[in-house]
Symmetry: C2
Subunit: 191 residues, 2 copies
């Protein structure tokens, strides 16, 4: 059994907590007022909005050493809705990995709308979690938790692919915001 | 009725030609030996691989003035399979638009595997063509041709979104090349 800490109690944090517990794994779910509580999970999911990541890392960097850290953020420019806020040749995940050299950083869940994690479906297709990272064991562990929770998981390659995962999610968000797809739909991954 | 010129007789050129004629629109399909034949279509689809685009534009730029030009390329680095070959803050479509100031340039079909255009499905979901561009009328005309041909079409925003369309397609290709999805599958767009 894995023990997972989720930092952030918003839609995504709750939806991921639900997936984890559904698979028989345990969760502690912390919000911003729980900053004094120590992290006890082996896997830590940063389920906060991108602008809050810097603060979380400042508060928790020491505790994240030795852990698997999962970045789910989409660094959108919410004012213009026309670009990402990270450098074009980088990603939020790469920035986080650079700040956490003692952690194994994964990118996952960022291409999943919260409702598709709750429902287990994108429309009528099974929800697939794309996982990128440089540590194969860490990816396999997270994939196992996702699969146990009733979703599909796919290894999407090295952490460098976070750039494309963030671009894909950005595109998907613009389609949903423009009412071209619903928040229960979007991109389904078809084997 | 629209008349469409397709430059390139590979899998994608043939699949798109099939969609166009299925919808009752007409096609002329040119390969590289047809360079002397004048373009007669109002819409011109550049269905060649990205490395051949520069040559096509050199040969045809004058004839493309006043036309709707559709870029379907994915500028992958086929040696490393680990990046795109266009600048991180740009896109193949942006490069083509810069070289064709007299044309209305659209990005489309680059997120569709050829088999999904032929089959009309991604797995069992209807195939959706994502279309980006700065000219609303041009996008609507292409969307009409796609819809008449039995596929779904979605306006994916301004030509700036070509960057995300190319990143999404790159991710999809890496998943297919890694046998995580099939070439008849990939990303289905679920409303």
């Amino acid at each position: 059994m894995s023990h997972v800490t989720i930092l952030g109690t918003g839609n995504m944090g709750q939806a991921i907590a639900n997936v984890v517990t559904k698979g028989g794994n345990s969760v502690e779910l912390f919000n911003s007022s729980d900053v004094a509580k120590p992290i006890t999970g082996d896997i830590v999911i940063l389920a906060v909005l991108y602008p809050s990541i810097a603060k979380v890392l400042e508060e928790r960097a020491d505790q994240l050493a030795g852990k698997i850290v999962v970045d789910i953020t989409n660094p959108l420019n919410f004012e213009t809705f026309d670009s990402l806020t990270v450098p074009a040749d980088g990603s939020a995940a790469a920035e986080i990995a650079a700040k956490l050299p003692q952690s194994r950083v994964l990118k996952a869940f960022n291409t999943n709308f919260a409702a598709t994690l709750h429902n287990g479906t994108v429309g009528t297709e099974p929800t697939t979690v794309l996982i990128a990272g440089d540590d194969t064991d860490a990816k396999a562990l997270l994939a196992g938790i996702v699969s146990a929770g009733g979703l599909k998981a796919i290894d999407a390659g090295s952490l460098k692919r976070a750039r494309e995962l963030e671009a894909t999610a950005f595109l998907q968000v613009t389609l949903a915001a423009g009412e071209k797809v619903g928040w229960t739909g979007g991109f389904a991954v078809i084997a």
